[in-house]
């Protein structure tokens, strides 16, 4: 698969947390870049917020990454993405009981 050229990840501090905001498609080709950003964020702050609002697609590899983060302990939350991204959470049963979901990042 050709790498999604438009994919990018930004990190910004937001109070106690670091907000990681990927833009584009999260799949096998881009998931490593996002994983590195999340690892870096965890080292910078106690709590990490993954902002999915600019994510256009997420496959099972991306889902596994979110799942891993949610199971790893520590403060982790996601900002809800578009409907098609949100649907994959519903599909696998990753609901509010198992993952903190926000409508907005803490600073937004």
């Amino acid at each position: 698969m050709e790498p999604a050229p438009e994919f990018s990840v930004t990190r910004r501090p937001s109070g106690e947390a670091v907000v990681v905001a990927p833009v584009g498609e999260i799949d096998l080709a881009t998931v490593d870049e996002l994983a590195q950003a999340l690892d870096a964020a965890r080292e910078e702050a106690g709590s990490v917020v993954l902002d999915l609002r600019e994510v256009t697609f997420m496959d099972s590899a991306g889902l596994r990454l979110v799942l891993e983060a949610s199971l790893a302990g520590g403060a982790f939350a996601v900002v809800r993405g578009p409907r098609e991204v949100q649907r994959i959470f519903d599909l696998v049963g990753l609901d509010e009981r198992r993952l903190t979901m926000l409508d907005q990042p803490p600073d937004g």
Partner: protein
Amino acid sequence: MRRRTEGAWATLVGIALVFALSYLDAAWDEQNIAATIVIAPFLTAMFTGARQTAAVAVFAIVAGVLSGGYNDNYGSDDYFVRLVVVIAGAAFAVLAARSRRALADDRHRFELLRGAAQIADAAVEIPGVVDRVGALLVPAFADICVIDVLRGSAVERLGVVAHGPDAAAVEARLRERGPWTLEAIRSGRQLLVAHVDEEHLRRNARSEEDLEFLRSLRERSHINVPLRSRGRNVGTLALLATSHPYRESDLELAILLAGRIGLALDNAGLFAELESLQGRLTTALDTLAEAVTIQHENGSLVYANEAAAASLGYATPAELLATPPREIVAAFESFHEDGSPLRVEELPARRVLAGLEPEPLLVRAVHRTTGEERWRIVKATAVPVREGEPRLAVTVIEDVTEVKRAELAERFLAQVGALLASDLDYEQTLAKVADLAVPRLADWCAVTLPAGDRLRPVAVAHSDPEKVAFARDYQERYPSDIDAPTGSAQVLRDGVSQLVNRIDDALLESVVADPEQRDLVRTIGLHAAMVVPMVAAGRVIGVITLAAAESARTFSQSDLELAEELGRRAGTAVENARLYAERSHIAATLQRGLLPDELPAIEGLRLASLYRPAGEENLVGGDFYDAFPTPTGWMLLVGDVTGRGAEAAALTGQARHTLRTAGMLLGDPDAAFEQLNRALVQRTELTPCTVALVHVAPDLRTAAVRCAGHPQPLLVRDGRPHAVGHFGPMLGAWPDSSWSAEAVALRSGDVLVLYSDGVTDTVGEHERFGEPRLLAALEGVADAEAAVAAVDAALNAFQRGPQADDTAVLALNLP
């Protein structure tokens, strides 16, 4: 022009004789001697020309007629007989005089032509030619002779010859007037002016003073003819006569003379220029980078330049020329490009000397003593020679060793590359590589890989199969020890290639301890050898040995570099082949774990499946499907394990088997899910797994559809697909999960399609395949086969680039 006065004297004497004889006849009464008058014209004819003889003859006839008076016999028979004798004798004398003069003229012309031909043959310098031409023609044929010639693109007045007391002044003046124009010379105009008149002089005069000069020459007659040589007009010859006129026959003679004079001048000029040309050519040849030799038809070399001497292994050209030709040729073993031996008669110079026109020949020459190999292009041409001269062949030898080696190396490596890429069984591949290296790189090629404490020969090549068999026997009898201090084992250990260009007894003794083995090695007649490592990922995985025996060649540094490159490429190919073999073994094993050998036959249900594994490089493992009977009906499922690496892939197989075992034993899909969920959650590594499971009741009337984090199956009823099934949590994520089923009442004609997210995630040109396209593809499908085919076709049409993820589809229908 002495002839004229001689003629006048002879005429006078003849006439006097006529008078004398007539007087005698008249005075002598008793005898009539009138007929003796005829003696006079005969005598005249002996010394002079026809015209003078005719004059005397006329007098004789007149005297004969008058003799009737003093002999008193007019009208008598005697008178007429005597008169007829006189007339006939006179006529005959005139004819005799004429033919005698013609003979003399011809001799004169012949002498002139012979003289001209001698000048032409003498090959003297140009001034010498002019002097000799002047001496020949003046005054014998002309009173003044002028030669103008073309030199390059200029006309030069080469010679002016006159005779007489003021000859020197006339010559100087004519020289001063300058030559004819270029156009006049090129036109090759020939001109005869029998009578030079005032008008002619005026036409040619350049000034009043010049006219005065021309008049002073008292020219009576004039001839102008082109000097010709080898078909070209090279000059003009002007002839002036003051004492007598030229006739048409003189013009013809002048043309013939001019032809010979032209030739003489050309020869003289040509020889002079050739001398300097030869000097220049020799200098040029001496310094030419290409080797040049000139061979005599008797086989000996008559010329060789520096490059030829160096190329053939001699210090100087003189040394080369002093060597017998047989010896020069015998120093090399020569081959055609295809490796067949070259015979001496095939050499281009030999062919030229045999009268043929050979094509340039590409020769591989191996020096018998040094073993050095050279590639040469040999061209030969004949030197044009005159009849009777020996044939000569010029040979130009261009050394193309570097070019040829580079070309061969490139071609060889290209072939090796193609071979290594084509065949993935590396032992077979290495055998082919060894074959390719023989005989172009060496006489022998062997490939050895380490195997335990031994070196295992995997390939041996020689152009002679018997020798290959011998080598195999030898290798079997004397296997190489991997700890041996020298040779292949050493190269295998330290990865440094070895090159030996002199394999002698001392070396053999130091390497091969066993005398019997040594004798065996000796029979091969090894001459030189290279041992290079086969390297893959910085590791030495084997060695390639290249050896020269019967070809007696040695190996150069560039040969070694080529062999090392061969080692690198072969090493990489072997490593790739090993990896590929390993990987395809893993893939085959896993594949067996992921998928049922074949879908079961279920009475009243029709099943079809589609499995499109992701590209080799993403061996993530992932999708699986299965269909099996349970105590409570049939279970059909499609699942997907998300993880990375071979371990995750292996888990995929485990997931399928866990579901199958639990399902078959317990007959309860929820229990099967729980079983797998527990197993996966217990693992330290997160291994999420999603499954869609359809449990069909034994009567095939109802189906319970469950999803563990998996896309819902699609039910195509009356040709319209829609999603069915209850969502539940994925497996392997949380220990406290539970699932529920949606019950679907099945009708005849229903098609149920289970699929993995590889279908909807397939990447197209602009976007993902997505659920809407899947629904559209399944629109109107009538059975399981059609559903699977429709999905496959839609994906094929949509997909761009390699497939990123596994894709699994399982469809069932009620007929």
